[in-house]
Symmetry: C2
Subunit: 604 residues, 2 copies
């Protein structure tokens, strides 16, 4: 099947069985939903994606969004998608009823977005940013801002963006210089923002920018950043729009995601740009980061979706392409035999299985994180909500990073499955490879996520988040120990949990001595180590669910389906998990190759 | 410097010092050369590359070679480069005097090509293929074919190609069906070839294709393949050219190397295509593979060159871009401090150092392989030539693969150094990333190289090649043990050599039991393991040379230069070599996840 970009059976297995969405649906907040309504939603999203997303995937790459005469020209499907997507509830879905939303659990919203992004990752961002901007308003802005902007954002009439980055600051938000000067009940905004996704496009009725800026006299650094609503056009009381001096000066042409516009905006070039404060002054970065967990799950989800689509494309090719022969027991090949399908070559299987374990492991991670989110806002008891909040905090940098980093590797393997064809524009693998490369940069690079994980999340609340997470992993290990074929794998994972403690003790030693630079210098290899073990855990859970289904004679999925999950877990434990042995060696080596002083030349 | 694409100081250090090109120049064959003449050559190649290669690098990507109206349109610089390059001796350089060549050592030819490819990897292939085709003729074809074709190929008047791949066969050459029917003193050729690099371009006077085809009645499989000279135009005795029924039917548009044309050719569509047999019938694949060592060193060299250029670009950026601040001893940052250059962030250093160790390690591997080649053809004693032939054989799959595979990772890290800019078309890193992706596919994929290494080279002549190579590594270890600061690293490498023997014993067990599929199933992880250790060896050699220079107070390079080599070795031994611990665990795991039978579903 040429439009086989997602494995819905696995997606549903993860959602309903492995991560038991029912536990979320049991919460009062989601009382209006059951598995059946989720199932209907997902099936309609798949139909919609088949028709409105996947068919435009290649042509959006070939005809990229681009700046011309002061405007960004985009593929005509952008407007159609936003309109139809809004009607399907893709924008309002996750918002509470009181904001005009559908109060869908995040698990369902992420599953819906995953299918869409697997079909065409150039489109969903146009409404994803609107969701993020509207969330900031609903959570932190006053009633007037809510009434003025949110309804038109949720119904798709107006778009939204997040404006953080500036040319001189990059990832260093403390160096933002965009200014906001009080002017009556609003502020005059002046400055420029770069890398603004979906920042503008021709024919957009209005775009509502959520802008980080600095009020005159504010403290330096991140403590002096405020958040503003800055519309491209100001709505008057009669509903008319007036230009608000927000100018698109150019765009960024990229190696991938070329249908998704990335813009460079000027605010207040004519000193006529008005912004409205969200919440209180100097709290802007806090607001932004309170919303960041969802955005970062979204990035990991997008990468997982691309990796998933690439896996399906490689698998289809390998199932149809005959080439070469298997070795016989003499170590030779028999040229008189028919050619075999390439899926029968061990090296091709290795590449496909790597794609499979990364792709499905990433999906599992996304749904688990979404579940933590749902339970952190919907559980009845305060302490339960707090538990899931902490689990969400520690999982956020991992769910952002693992699918983005290992997803690249998975797609790279997928391209290799096709040999020379994989490198050619006529085949889709090269587009997936170009598209996925941005995800390790979006919303905080891998380096920044890794420092967040090791420097903040592992240590937060005296290590409480990590303690809770290890308990979750231990629960899985115990449950798997009792299922005979899984015992050796449970033991392996248990050993890796011990190894993690050893590694953390070694690294914490540096922090305790006040050597923070050294403590965090290996944050990225630590992320690789840590996330590899997390995915091992998630595969053990998947295999346990499958093993139980086999033992119980479940017929919801085929025997082959369950066997393939157990086999993929075995593959992961043979080919991926042992990499942590080498990584632990790296992390526990006490030399300081990265933080060397200026006494010796490093880059001569 | 914006055109800093190659580190000539390191290149010369590797060539003259670490790999002592003088040992090659001491051979009778190269009596006309000394270090001074090599030095002059390299400097002139750098000047030429600055003017004729680097300035066209970006525009060749933006205006790709493409098929139109039966022809391939290429950038005008292609013809200029071929003409000027031929005049500089880039085509004839490596050929013996008797063929009208300059009898340059391969070490010098590869160094020259490395500089050119670092400047612009879209151009050198146009003459690289001509060299390969002419080599096949000079080595295996009769006097008439030599006289008719070689002079005009070496002076750049005519191009050349290698035509192996066919649509139904891919990497499986035994399935080639292009036919050759005896017809007087030539053969009628009929068939099609795909992925033919530099296969045609508008305005090419003539292109000489070296074509693998099957003579009617030949044995099936690779034993029935013959090699033919098939010119695009037949030269008559009066020097005129007549069309030889070789038709360019289309091209392949690629994700990278877009200035370098990749064509689809039809031979004999009108039954008027003549080919001339090279050597004897049914020996074609043998001839092709006798020339393959050079071609594969060339692929590794190209990847190393791209990785080198990307490293220079990332390093320049990191040395100029201020962003963020270093952590203070309280674990916080002081926002009132000036921003620091990003090269001072440990995570950025990690990425740059990874680029550096992969890039320079790859260069070292290329020069070492070229040295083995030179000594295998020029050493006075037969047994010495045989020793180097075996070392070249075992090194060939490694030099093809390591720079291609780890080069991708290095360039990927280089893109990440630039953050969002790295993903944008205005910056060059994304082009390097797209360009380098093909090298793991060219001239035998990584999977095929890995099976060559484990299945053929390690075991050849009862393990003689591997025995010789381990002796070379042991000699290095012994020499480094005696230099005090290097002792711990020499010990580490020694342990890795022991580990390699353990891994090989475990894998050989499967071969001895006749389980060849299982024996070779993990060939690719074995390649990763093995090449990682080889590069560790080469870094130890580089550090020893630097340490000796420091001890001896050498002033040929600065103290900082020598220190940076030792530091890079330490980085490699901390961050790269330990990965082999995890890989060994993978390789010695005796489960068979890849070669599982059909009794259980793998890809459900």
């Amino acid at each position: 099947m040429a439009n086989q970009y997602v494995d819905l059976e696995t997606l549903k297995f993860l959602l309903y069985k492995v991560h038991a969405v029912q536990e979320v649906l049991d919460q009062e907040r989601y009382a209006d939903y059951d598995e059946e309504s989720i199932e209907m939603l997902l099936n309609s999203v798949k139909d919609f994606s088949d028709k409105e997303l996947f068919p435009y995937f290649r042509e959006m790459d070939e005809n990229p969004a681009h700046f011309k005469d002061g405007e960004i020209l985009v593929h005509p499907q952008v407007k159609k998608y936003i309109k139809a997507g809004a009607e399907m509830g893709f924008i309002s879905g996750g918002f509470p009823y009181e904001n005009g939303g559908m109060q869908l659990p995040a698990m369902a919203s992420h599953a819906s977005a995953f299918i869409q992004e697997a079909a065409n990752n150039h489109l969903p961002g146009y409404i994803g940013l609107t969701i993020g901007a509207a969330e900031l308003i609903t959570h932190f802005a006053n009633k007037e801002l809510n009434e003025t902007y949110v309804p038109k954002m949720l119904d798709g009439t107006w778009g939204g963006t997040m404006c953080l980055t500036e040319p001189q600051a990059g990832s260093s938000l403390s160096d933002i210089v965009t200014s906001a000067n009080p002017d009556g009940n609003s502020y005059k905004i002046h400055g420029q923002k770069i890398f603004i996704s979906a920042g503008d496009y021709k024919g957009a009725k209005n775009i509502i920018h959520l802008v980080l800026a600095r009020v005159k006299g504010a403290p330096s650094g991140t403590k002096g950043i405020s958040l503003f609503v800055v519309p491209k056009n100001r709505p008057n009381s009669n509903g008319n729009l007036t230009s608000n001096d927000v100018q698109t000066v150019t765009d960024f042409q990229k190696m991938g995601q070329r249908g998704y516009s990335t813009t460079h905006l000027f605010f207040g070039d004519k000193e006529e740009c008005q912004g409205w404060l969200v919440g209180e002054e100097n709290q802007g970065l806090k607001y932004m980061f309170l919303m960041m967990n969802s955005a970062r799950i979204g990035v990991g989800r997008g990468a997982a979706a691309i990796a998933s689509a690439a896996y399906q494309a490689s698998l289809n090719y390998a199932n149809e392409r005959p080439q070469g022969r298997n070795l016989t027991s003499t170590g030779k090949k028999d040229a008189n035999q028919e050619q075999t399908l390439i899926i029968n070559h061990p090296d091709v299987r290795r590449m496909l299985l790597l794609q499979k374990v990364v792709t499905e492991g990433s999906q599992s991670l996304v749904f688990l994180s979404a579940k933590y989110y749902d339970l952190s806002i919907s559980s009845a008891a305060t302490d339960v909500r707090e538990k899931y909040r902490l689990l969400l905090e520690i999982m956020t940098p991992v769910v952002k990073t693992y699918p983005s980093e290992m997803g690249k590797t998975a797609v790279d393997n997928g391209l290799q499955v096709l040999g020379g064809y994989g490198y050619c524009s006529d085949y889709i693998l090269q587009q997936y490879l170009r598209d996925i490369r941005i995800f390790a940069i979006y919303e905080g690079t891998t380096g920044i996520q890794s420092q967040d994980l090791l420097g903040r999340k592992i240590t937060m609340d005296n290590g409480k988040a990590w303690q809770l997470l290890s308990q979750e992993i231990m629960n899985s290990i115990r449950a798997s120990m009792m299922l005979e074929p899984l015992t050796p794998y449970a033991q392996k994972l248990n050993a890796k949990l011990d190894l993690t403690q050893q590694v953390l003790r070694a690294l914490m030693g540096f922090a305790k001595k006040g050597d923070y630079q050294r403590f965090l210098a290996d944050a990225t290899p630590f992320m690789e180590f840590f996330s590899n073990i997390i995915i091992g855990w998630l595969w053990l859970d998947m295999a346990r669910e499958a093993q139980n289904a086999l033992v119980n004679g479940s017929t919801e999925n085929s025997t082959g389906f369950y066997e393939s999950k157990i086999h993929a877990m075995e593959f992961y434990f043979k080919y991926e998990l042992p990499k942590t042995t080498g990584l632990a060696e790296i992390l526990m080596d006490n030399s300081r190759a990265l933080t060397i002083g200026t006494d010796k030349k490093v880059f001569a």
